[in-house]
């Protein structure tokens, strides 16, 4: 450093500084220019996706939600629901709806992910709404599972049961089981509040909170989660457990008692 500052008045110093500055400028340009062209590509791809999405929408959705997503008596308005809602509803197969009913059940998804993205792009272009979360937003890695459990019991357990087994609501509606639901879909459901589920927007339940909840569900209610109690009997609580004990526990005792009494100990069998 001392050597460098000693030569700062050298006749060639200005040339060196100038060369250095040019190299930095060139390097920065090289680093950022391709990004700009990519962005331009993105915009083009985006408008293409909206075009494609609009076509898919007119065929599959418009009969209930209206030609411009304004809603009809058969389906709610989609203006402002955001890409996230589309990704959830179509991605879990809930939409398109098979028939009107108490609520749309989960079924096999009809559109593939590329088509869903196009539909989502079109709906998102109708009005601002929550966008599809990125992987690091919903991935359960590095989240606080205990806090997630606390949040789940405060916000979700009333309908979805303490370990996400689901439960009944009024007039045929129900809170579905959360077992092995894609973390992305859980995140989107909290964000958008599908059907009768209330939403839990980022303003009242932060992104970190949502991540914690997903991590909790991943621990207690997924195909790889382990139950120390063994046979869960549906995890529904005392009703199924009591019924099991009364029928199979007591039943086994009765069978043993009958078996003991039915066999005579006499030498001469009568």
């Amino acid at each position: 450093m001392k050597k460098l500052s000693a030569r700062r008045r050298h006749p060639l110093a200005a040339v060196v500084v100038l060369l250095f500055a040019l190299a930095v400028t060139g390097g920065l340009y090289a680093a950022f220019a391709p990004a700009d062209t990519a962005k331009a590509d993105d915009t083009a791809a985006q408008s293409l996706a909206i075009e494609e999405g609009k076509k898919l929408y007119s065929v599959g959705c418009a009969s209930c939600h209206g030609t411009g997503g304004q809603g009809t008596t058969d389906g709610p308005s989609l203006v402002g629901v955001g890409a996230s809602a589309v990704d959830f509803q179509v991605g879990t197969g809930r939409m398109p709806l098979q028939q009107q009913g108490a609520q749309a059940p989960k079924k096999k998804a009809i559109y593939d992910q590329a088509e869903i993205d196009q539909l989502a792009a079109y709906i998102a272009s109708l009005g601002a709404g929550p966008s599809v979360p990125s992987k690091d937003q919903y991935s359960p890695d590095g989240a606080d599972i205990a806090k997630g459990g606390e949040l789940f019991r405060t916000n979700c357990a009333q309908c979805h049961n303490f370990t996400g087994k689901g439960g009944a609501l009024s007039n045929g509606k129900f809170a579905p089981s959360l077992e092995d639901v894609n973390p992305k879909h859980i995140y989107e459901a909290m964000q958008t509040g599908p059907q009768n589920m209330p939403s839990f927007p980022d303003t009242t339940m932060s992104e970190k909170n949502k991540k914690d909840i997903i991590a909790y569900l991943d621990t207690v209610n997924s195909s790889k989660s382990q139950s120390p109690g063994g046979l869960e009997l549906g995890g529904l609580g005392p009703v199924s457990e009591g019924l099991f004990a009364w029928i199979f526990g007591l039943g086994a005792l009765i069978v043993v008692a009958i078996w003991v009494a039915a066999r005579t100990a006499k030498a001469k069998k009568s």
Partner: protein, 352 residues
Amino acid sequence: MSSQDIPEEHLPSAQGDTHTSAVTKPAGDPFADPGLPPHEHRVQDIDERAAKRSERAVAFLFLLSMVATVGFIASYVSIPVDKNIYVFPIGHISALNFSLGLTLGVALFCIGAGAVHWARTLMSDVEVADERHAIAAEPEVKAKVLADFAAGAEESAFGRRKLIRNTMFGALALVPLSGVVLLRDLGPLPGTKLRKTAWSEGKMLINQNTNQPLRPEDIQVGSLTFAMPEGLKEEDHDFQKEIAKAALMIVRLRPENIKDKKELDWSADGIVAFSKICTHVGCPISLYEQQTHHVLCPCHQSTFDLSDGGRVIFGPAGHALPQLRIKVNDKGYLEAMGDFAEPVGPAFWERG
């Protein structure tokens, strides 16, 4: 069975008078006690080798029980609490839970099975008849007891020494008072505890997820938020007691969807705050359906309409859900304008 199945000769018409002549008068009393059937022996009573085998079987069951008990203690000591194993019909289960249950079950079952086998094969099974006796005592025994009682009463001077008798009556009458005084521990009377909650004027609504005060713009139409009063901390000694009464759910409705005028007046820009405690027996209710604005109680299916003043539309609840009057303060946060106007939770005798 129809009459076709009966052979001809057994029909009453075919039997004719042979029937009456065939009846012979039984000798003696036809209803006399036939007595016990002859005693039948068991293999073990006749064959000493079989008896030995039974003895060994019983001893084996008892020994098995001992081994299982030792196994119980061994599993308790050696198996770590978080170890999981796969057991075929049950699935994944904690190794400790499984082995404790299995060994204790075997230990208890083998004692029972051994005892039953012992009683059935080795203990004497000879029938024993024991005649009943009249319940009433002999007249002379009765007379003696009564005479003894009268003599005792006379000797105790119970009738003569009235001071003793009266003070004894007094002592006996007062003793139960101790029990009555203990009932005081059921108190003290709740006072205003059933009518007051932790909410009061100027307390901000704190989001239970983030512990931050809520702003009206945080709460969107269709969302559900739970709030607690400012100043209440989860670490507080009385947190559970206070939140059990103060728990609040906050939803936002479009003002044109609010049917009840008072509810609209008590809301802040369509944000309404209702007690989370069911007015039937006090279960926490927050099964909120955002399209119908109904809240369902999971315990007895009471349903409340949050767009109509928390009115009961179904179920056993007797009162509408209490609403908390809120406003936006000058710093832009939601705050309570007082406590709930009526007691939250289930009705009680003096509720009025």
